[in-house]
Amino acid sequence: MTNSIADIEKADVILVTGSNTTENHPVLAQSIKRAVLHGGTQLILVDPRKVPLARYASLHLRPKLGTDVAWLNAMARVVLRESLQDTKFVAKRTEGVDELAAFLERYEPEAMERITGIPAGVLTQAARLYARANRASIFYAMGITQHQQGTDNVRAVANLAMLCGHLGKPGTGVNPLRGQNNVQGACDMGALPAFLPGYQRVDSAEVRAKFSGAWGRDISAARGLTIGEMIEAAGAGKLRALLVFGENPVVTEPDSDGTARALDALEMLVVQDLFLTETAQMAHFVLPGRSFAEKDGTFTSTERRVQKLRRAVEAPGEAWADGESVCRLSALLGYPMIYEPAEAMREIAELTPSYAGIDHARLEKGGIQWPCPQAGHPGTPILHTDGFTRGKGAFACVEYKPPAEKTGKRYPLLLTTGRTRYAYHAGSMTVRTALAAMQRQGCLEMNPADAELLALADGDLVRVESQRGALTTRLCLSARSPQGVVFMSFHFPEERVNRLISPAFDPQSGIPEYKVTAVKVALAGGEASA
């Protein structure tokens, strides 16, 4: 997030898109709801589904799945057409506005209406509301990034915010919401194939020299493989060993069956986890891991807040922290490392400019938001207050491309996936808690009108089929999903909804298109077909 959770309530207008915030980031959603209920903030919700936040929205735009660039560009077009941009901000802080303006002429809301399904009038109203606000913020989550055009979507979001000058001030910003508790931290720490800690590029000789100096080993200049590429390489016999810490790719990666086949081809799969997950069951070695309550260290939240984790209980049996096993293994391979979290943080601070002022002792008094460039620096609640990292913010002309998947005769419905309130991610944690009783099974959410056409009823056992696979689940009827769209969560390993999902990647981010898959739905075991 460019801004902080604490300043959400300072916004006059909040635009939320591709995020079922009340269910996936509930405590942050509180601030949005309070802003609307008690602060007079207007909420613009852009989501095909009628997610619970719709109850708080002044405007709810329901685009067709995978048409985000189209509506985002159309909003930017309205801003320019009606001269609602923040001319001062644009002149001082950005570049490329003329090219953008020329490019956007093709994105009239009237013309986009056919693609997005959003009435031009409503879209225009939303654009005006956002642009004219004194302070307006944008929040988005996987509904924006989990598309083949995910990176483009993010650029189109940034265009809109920069045009209107809604950056660098309280109550504004472009705020991606991170799904898992330490996704932000894992990225910050360089658990990425092209970046060392602090987003320092592996392909820069200078950066490599700095790290080789500190680590006493040469760093390879070749960009590594992303998770999807590793799975592909495993399938092709090029990747021979994979060490997995606390992840469950068989359930969470697209095309589950293909992922399982690829992992099966590995000569060695090692998994460290709390439970014998679906992926662990395929491993040659399984190592018992420690939960968050059994170790010390830090997590970094979606608002860049580095916070102290404290050990609360003894770990079961001989469970070790992932960091412990990595260090011991490293020593066996001739590169000794010691697992001592506070010491590791000192090393991180030395090598990572945005963490330079952070140490465990400081965090005892509360979290700190990076960048924290030196000891004693209070942290940075709002980014880009006087400039962007690379000087001027560049507008990007991003062209709308239809999603890879289209409905047709065979697969007439679009499936989108996400989380629900009581379950989390691959479900290995939540199914083992009191939450499990709230929702034992997943279900396929369908609009009653679609169900009527297919002669299906609430609670029916249905077969959901895509080009890649099929699964059986219960049907639950709900007006949340618009006609033509069905929804399923990915928490329930038995269902492995990802076996249906297209492995089409965003070529720039490597993020699979979890949000759009063409499917058909029919009564399980029955003859009826969609």
Partner: protein, 348 residues
């Protein structure tokens, strides 16, 4: 700033503050049932009555603002008697089963009953006890114990922003309920559990925590679920986590958590947890020692590195591991193995 006297002691207080706030700041306790610092005052229970010395007026401390020159008494005989009467009235329609009530140790009603010498049987019972409404598998509702303080209603509307509960009924049947008295699961309730954590008595309880023993310590840490990164205090009994609260003074999330953070921690002590390294063999899983397992893994890694070079190995780090662990994992990949094949499921 205004100056006033409380129990003869001179204080200065911000003009906008209440008698309660300024007294508590000065270390003078005034009992409260319907007040919570995270909420606007309710003024419903009147246990916080204090006396204005000059006029003899009884004022509710939680919602009366300080005035310059005020002189307030918090502990006169008259006030004690008034508080006693109020507690007796509450107990006339509240079961006196503190010995088996899960809230007993934290219940403020019981605390004040003991302080003011109220045993519960002083007045004849008024009306029948309300039945227990078992809301769902997470929340236990026993409205016979509800004192009508309204904290849950205010918390839901003002803090959680869900406004899922309101008061219904009248007289002895006056109690909170979800809109139209629908079951909680069918209402706007998001099961964040805030009402439960703030209820001053045993009317609302966290079901997963019931009968798990007494809290022996609290540990301030970070929620393991979403990227909000809520500060949570684990309630621990022995080596078991029995619940979670958001009560740490430095918590950015105030008193709020969601259903996952509050009720989703049972996995930590779950019997399915792995406790030993395992190797998959033709005969199934075999338990191994750490030394044995790590040496076996290292040996295979060495062979693969020798034969195919570092690009044939990869690491999946984790969005659930700490920063320090992720740092060490990528350092291991890059410095020890010599590959940039390191990634995590950030894209989910």
């Amino acid at each position: 700033m205004v100056s006033l006297r409380v129990n003869g002691k001179s204080l200065s207080a911000k003009g906008a503050s209440t008698i309660l706030e300024s007294a508590r700041k000065a270390g003078i306790d005034i009992p409260t049932l319907c007040y919570h610092p995270a909420l606007p005052p309710g003024g419903a229970c009147r246990i916080c009555l204090v006396e204005e010395e000059s006029t003899g007026r009884l004022l509710t401390a939680c919602n009366t603002r300080v005035e310059g020159g005020m002189s307030i008494l918090t502990d006169t005989q008259r006030i004690s008697t008034a508080r006693q009467r109020m507690l007796e009235l509450i107990f006339a329609r509240h079961p006196v089963d503190c010995t088996i009530c899960e809230a007993a140790n934290t219940c403020r009603l019981r605390l004040y009953a003991a302080r003011y010498g109220v045993s519960g049987g002083e007045l004849p019972r008024r009306g029948e006890l309300l039945p227990i409404t078992d809301a769902n598998s997470l929340i236990h509702r026993d409205y016979s114990k509800c004192i009508g303080c309204g904290i849950c209603v205010r918390a839901c509307g003002e803090v959680q922003g869900a406004a899922a509960v309101e008061f219904i009924g009248s007289g002895p049947r006056y109690r909170p309920a979800a809109t139209f008295d629908h079951p909680l699961d069918a209402s706007e309730c998001e099961l964040c559990g805030l009402c439960v954590s703030l209820c001053p008595v045993g009317a609302l309880m966290e079901k997963p925590s019931i009968h798990h023993g007494l809290e022996t310590r609290r540990v301030d840490t970070v929620c393991p679920y979403c990227g909000c990164g809520c500060d949570l205090e684990l309630r621990v009994a022995g080596e078991r986590i029995i619940g979670a609260r958001a009560e740490a003074p430095a918590a950015w999330n105030g008193v709020s958590l969601c259903a996952k953070g509050r009720y989703g921690l049972g996995f930590v002590n779950h019997p399915d947890r792995l406790g030993k390294p395992l190797e998959r063999t033709a005969e199934g899983w075999q338990e191994r020692s750490w030394d044995w397992a790590l040496e076996a893994i290292a040996e295979r890694l060495r062979r693969i590195l020798d034969e195919s070079g570092p690009s044939a190995v990869g690491i999946l780090a984790s969005a659930k591991s700490t920063n320090e662990e992720n740092y060490l994992m990528q350092k291991f990949a890059r410095a020890a193995l010599g590959t940039n094949n390191v990634d995590h499921c950030a894209r989910l």
